[in-house]
Structure formats: structure tokens, C-alpha cells
């Protein structure tokens, strides 16, 4: 599904968070959203699936204004993975992933719903612990559960807010490549926000640099990973290695400037 974001503006009271953000993600494309703290990454993700309502601008899904969709339809089309979650009353892993089927069920869950959930739990390696309660899990496991829940929505667009921030190196690679493979195979369009430039460069087709609520640069990792852009956006000196084993540029931060 093609996603067009046109002239999105969002402000909390008088504080402007997003200014005229415009970009497109074509079907099956993975876009990484990077930028310093407070640059508007999370807000932008929430404006796309209408958790927040932008004051200006439109979001188009295959050319149709998202405002014409019902909440339930948006829940079927767009999966959203929040940064983190704490629950006062905690569901089990199984119940949480099952909740991803919410847009499809009214009361009774069908066999297909269960099947989808069981398969996702297996794929994510959560099957053995699926009866544990969410609050007992480690940060990494929680993140996996939240991702599994969004996958259970069988979305056509996936929005992930720092999906690997609590994962160790091995799990980061595992989860990132798993999501990448899954979505490539099913032609899901993905936008993920991250602080890890190298992860962004490795698992995306396009990277968008966000600076103070505006898109500063957007393009393939090879195009936009330059010392100049990184300096402008983050205020640091960085070295970019273009010839690497993973065939993607690598960023090495040197010092603040």
C-alpha cells in the first residue's frame, strides 16, 4: 500500500512539533526515520495512524484520504508499535498478541485469528513463554510482544517507534532482519523511527532525517549518510565508511562539535 504524507503540521498548544512534513512510501518500501531527541519522530508516526490528529495536512493510503476510513479499518491497515509500555493490569503474552486481532473480531475469536497468533508467536520465538504475564518480561521481550501484536493485525503499513531500542545486539539483528524479510515478502510498507543510524542504514530503502519538525534530507542511505548532513542534524563530527562488508554505509560518530 502506498502511503503519502502531505504537508503535515502538528502542534501541542503553541509548541510546534511538525512543520509541513511531506514524503511518500511506496508499497513494500522501508523508510527509516532518524533525528535527534524531540525532532518529532514519534509525533509523526502517531499522526500517520491518527492517534494524534494533525492540525494541517493529509495522509493518503493508496490515494484515499485516511479521514474517510473508520477507526477499525485503520486498525486493519496500519500496525503501530509504541516505544515502550507499562501495564497496571497485565495480560499474558498470548492475550496481548491476540489483541492484535481486535480490528477483525467483534466478540468471538475465530480459528483463523488463533492460527495467525500461534504462527506469529512461533516466528517471534515467544511460543514457549506465551502464558507469562507482560509485566514480568524483560524490556526486550516486551518489545517483541508489541511487535508481534502489530504483526497480528496483518497490516499493510507498519509503524515502529524505536522497535529495537531495548534489545541486545543479537536480538536487534534478529528482530530487524525478521521484520525486514517478512515485510519484503508481503509488500508491507514500513516506517520505523530509530536512534541507531547504522541499523537505519542497514534495514531500510530510504532514510529521512528529521530536524526540528522538518524533513532535512531524505534518500537512500548511500545518498544521505554524509558527514555534512549528520553534522547539520545532530551537531556531531562523524565519519562515514562507504565500502563495508554489509554493503551499506556505516556511520562512526567522532565527537560533538
Amino acid at each position: 500500500m502506498k502511503l503519502s504524507i502531505k504537508g503535515i503540521e502538528f502542534h501541542y498548544n503553541s509548541h510546534k512539533v511538525l512543520k509541513d512534513v511531506t514524503f511518500q512510501v511506496v508499497e513494500g518500501e522501508v523508510l527509516a526515520l532518524v533525528g535527534p531527541n524531540g525532532s518529532g519522530k514519534s509525533t509523526l508516526l502517531k499522526c500517520i495512524n491518527r492517534i494524534l490528529k494533525p492540525q494541517k495536512g493529509t495522509v493518503l493510503l493508496d490515494g484515499k484520504n485516511i479521514e474517510t476510513f473508520t477507526n477499525r479499518d485503520i486498525g486493519k491497515l496500519i500496525g503501530y508499535v509504541p516505544q515502550s509500555a507499562f501495564h497496571t493490569f497485565s495480560l499474558t503474552i498470548f492475550e496481548m498478541v491476540l489483541l492484535g486481532r481486535k480490528p477483525y473480531v467483534t466478540w468471538k475469536i475465530g480459528e483463523r485469528d488463533k492460527k495467525v497468533v500461534w504462527e506469529i508467536l512461533s516466528v517471534m520465538g515467544l511460543d514457549k513463554i506465551s502464558d507469562r504475564s507482560f509485566n514480568e518480561l524483560s524490556g526486550g521481550e516486551k518489545q517483541k510482544v508489541l511487535i508481534a501484536m502489530a504483526l497480528a493485525q496483518e497490516p499493510e503499513v507498519l509503524l515502529l517507534d524505536e522497535p529495537t531500542s531495548h534489545l541486545d545486539l543479537r536480538h536487534q539483528l534478529e528482530i530487524a532482519s525478521l521484520i525486514f524479510k517478512l515485510v519484503k515478502k508481503q509488500k508491507v510498507s514500513v516506517i520505523f523511527a530509530t536512534h541507531d543510524l547504522n541499523l537505519a542504514g542497514r534495514f531500510s530503502d530510504k532514510v529521512a532525517f528529521l530536524k526540528r519538525g522538518e524533513i532535512f534530507a531524505i534518500g537512500s542511505p548511500q545518498e544521505v549518510f554524509t558527514p555534512e548532513i549528520i553534522k547539520e542534524v545532530y551537531g556531531i563530527q562523524a565519519k562515514v565508511l562507504s565500502q563495508t562488508e554489509i554493503e551499506r554505509p556505516l556511520v562512526i560518530p567522532i565527537s560533538p562539535c
Binding site: 496500519i78 497496571t88 495480560l91 498470548f94 481486535k102 500461534w118 504462527e119 506465551s130 501484536m149 504483526l151
Partner: protein, 364 residues
């Protein structure tokens, strides 16, 4: 194009079967809790109909009820027939329905506020009900005028009025969980102050009547009361059950819920209104019975977890059990007089809850 993970063949079917197994065991355990609870309530009901000033055997209790329900004739003593059918059985049923109603309202309010300390009482409903009763008893004035529902009707309307006041005030700042609870508590204090003032100015006799009402009691149960309470509880619960999935989404966080297509604002309003109706419908007839609505959902959660599809019915069972048990104790403990159920349920329920809190593994 949807994400068809099912077509992938990287999945080991063995692990799928294992998950299925775990899930089915968990579900079976929850259902066992629910059906075991229902069986327990039935046994306790027969026991409750049997004990009291006039002892009536289990067999006779069963005969009376069975005869009335089927229209068949059994040889039972006249006194047994009257005591069971006119006095104890409606009271037992009222305890069950009222307990279930209070408990499910507690579960609903805790779900939308994500707060373990929230209950219909923190929404100002009980304070409003008390004020309605106080105005009727002390000032002799009731919105519904004179008649059968002089106190109950006033109490019900005042309870709803204060619930809407809380909702309205918190709306002014956008209904977040915090404003809902803080507004509720502030309004509860204001209303409670007015009730205290009415107690202060009330004459001795009226004061006694009011205090007795405030204790909460099922002593004057009859089929009429049961009928009205049941309407509120059954209707309210029916609609509340339909929100099970939405409540599951709510406790997983507002953003997650919105992402799943839940209209969180509407769910909050509807659940709050349903819970207010149920609670007001119960306590306007029984007086202020605390504890059940706050603690029953917690006790249920300890056994079956937070999935509202199971939590709501389980809370009902725990609430019914608590209130029926407490009321039966209250009317049999002292031979000379009855202890109001509101007192017993808090006095015994509190330690029971602490015991569970300290011994059960699953937190809430």
C-alpha cells in the same frame, strides 16, 4: 495485499501445537474457575436459605425452591415455604445480583482508568447515593415524590447526577484517567461534607435511620427490590460484556488501543455510564456497601488474569460470593440482632484480600 505470515514455511508446527496446548490449558483453567464459582454460589445459596432463626433442612429448602420454580407440589411445612420463599431466597438472590453488579462495575472502572484504586465509589457514585438518601430521610424531600421509592429513587438519581458531574468536570480538561479519578475524589469529598452536615442537623430518629441506611444492608430484601436491581445489573452487564475486547485494549495503553481502532473516548464514556447505572441501581436499594466493587476484580485477577472476557464474569462471581457469604454471616453471627452486611464484608473481606495479596503469585 495483507501480511500473510501463514504462507511461510519457516514455522515449526510442533511449536504451534505447543502454544495451542498452553492456551487451551489456560482457558480451561479460567472456565473451571467460573463454573466452579457458580457451583459454589449455588451451594452457598442453599446453605444461606437453610440457616437462621428458624432452621430449615437443605432438603426442605431445595423442595420449596424446586416446587416454586416448576409449579409442582411437594409436602413442605407452611413455615418453611414462607421463610424460604418470602424472606431468605429473595435476600440470597439480591446478595448475588448486587454483589455481581458492584463487582463488574469495579472491574469496568478499573479497566478504563487503569488504576487499581479506582472504583465506582471514587467516581462519586456512592457519595451521591448517600446524599440522595440523606435528603430523603432528613429533609423528607425526594425528586420522585412520595411513594414506594421515596428513598431509593432519590438516591439513584443523586448517584447518577454526581457521576455525570464527575464526568463533566473531567471532560473540561479532557478525560484522562487522572482527571477522572481526581475530579471524582474531589466531588466525593464535597458531597460527603453535605451528607455530614445533614447528619449534623438531623433529629435523633432520622439520624438513626440515615446511619442505618449508610451501613448498607440487605435486611429488607423482597422480590420487588430484586426485580429492579436485576434490571440494572443484567442490562448493564450485558452491554459491559460487549466491551471486553475494548477494555483489554484500554489496559494495554491508550495509544495501543487507538492504534487497534478503539475509540478510546467513547469507550471511557460508555463504560463509565454503564458502571454508574449498575452501581446506582444496586446501592440505592441496599445502602452503601463498599469493598465489593473495589476488591472483587482484584481477587478475580489473581486467579484468572486481566483478560476482560473472563475477568468480567469472574469478578461477578467473586462479588456475589463475597456479598452472599458476608450477608449470611451477618444475619447468623449474633442471635439477638443482625450485623449490616456492609460492615461484615469490609471486616472479613479486608483480611481475606490481604491473605491473597501475600500468598498468590500472580500480581495485578
Amino acid at each position: 495485499m495483507t501480511l500473510r505470515i501463514m504462507e511461510k514455511n519457516v514455522i515449526a508446527t510442533e511449536s504451534e501445537i505447543e502454544v495451542k496446548d498452553i492456551y487451551e490449558k489456560l482457558t480451561a483453567r479460567k472456565l473451571a474457575f467460573i463454573f466452579g464459582g457458580i457451583a459454589g454460589i449455588i451451594v452457598l445459596s442453599i446453605l444461606a436459605c437453610s440457616v437462621g432463626a428458624a432452621h430449615i433442612s437443605f432438603a426442605e429448602v431445595a423442595k420449596v425452591i424446586f416446587a416454586k420454580l416448576t409449579g409442582l407440589n411437594f409436602a413442605v411445612r407452611k413455615v418453611a415455604d414462607t421463610v424460604v420463599w418470602q424472606v431468605r431466597f429473595p435476600r440470597v438472590l439480591l446478595a448475588i445480583v448486587a454483589g455481581a453488579g458492584l463487582a463488574i462495575s469495579g472491574a469496568g472502572i478499573q479497566g478504563i482508568t487503569r488504576n487499581p484504586l479506582a472504583s465506582p465509589f471514587t467516581m462519586g457514585i456512592s457519595a451521591g447515593a448517600a446524599l440522595g438518601a440523606a435528603v430523603a430521610i432528613v429533609l423528607g424531600w425526594s425528586i420522585v415524590g412520595m411513594g414506594k421509592f421515596f428513598i431509593a429513587g432519590n438516591s439513584f438519581l443523586f448517584a447518577l447526577f454526581s457521576a455525570f458531574l464527575v464526568l463533566g468536570v473531567s471532560k473540561l480538561r479532557g478525560t484522562t484517567e487522572e482527571t477522572l479519578i481526581l475530579a471524582g475524589i474531589a466531588i466525593m469529598y464535597i458531597i460527603t461534607a453535605i451528607v455530614s452536615f445533614l447528619q449534623f442537623i438531623a433529629g435523633k430518629e432520622k439520624l438513626q435511620g440515615l446511619i442505618h441506611w449508610l451501613f448498607g444492608s440487605l435486611a429488607n430484601a423482597n422480590w420487588d427490590k430484586l426485580f429492579f436491581v436485576s434490571i440494572f445489573v443484567f442490562l448493564g452487564s450485558f452491554f459491559l460484556f460487549r466491551y471486553s475486547w475494548d477494555l483489554n485494549a484500554m489496559i494495554s495503553g491508550e495509544e495501543v488501543a487507538k492504534g487497534l481502532g478503539v475509540n478510546t473516548e467513547r469507550v471511557k464514556n460508555v463504560v463509565l455510564i454503564l458502571c454508574s447505572f449498575i452501581t446506582a441501581g444496586v446501592i440505592c436499594f441496599t445502602g452503601i456497601i463498599g469493598f465489593v466493587c473495589l476488591m472483587s476484580p482484584h481477587i478475580a485477577r489473581m486467579y484468572i488474569g486481566a483478560d476482560h472476557r473472563f475477568l468480567l464474569p469472574s469478578s461477578c462471581i467473586v462479588g456475589a460470593f463475597l456479598l452472599l457469604g458476608a450477608d449470611t454471616l451477618g444475619r447468623t453471627l449474633l442471635s439477638s440482632s443482625e450485623i449490616p452486611v456492609g460492615i461484615i464484608v469490609a471486616f472479613l473481606g479486608g483480611p481475606f484480600f490481604l491473605y491473597l495479596l501475600l500468598t498468590k503469585q500472580r500480581g495485578f
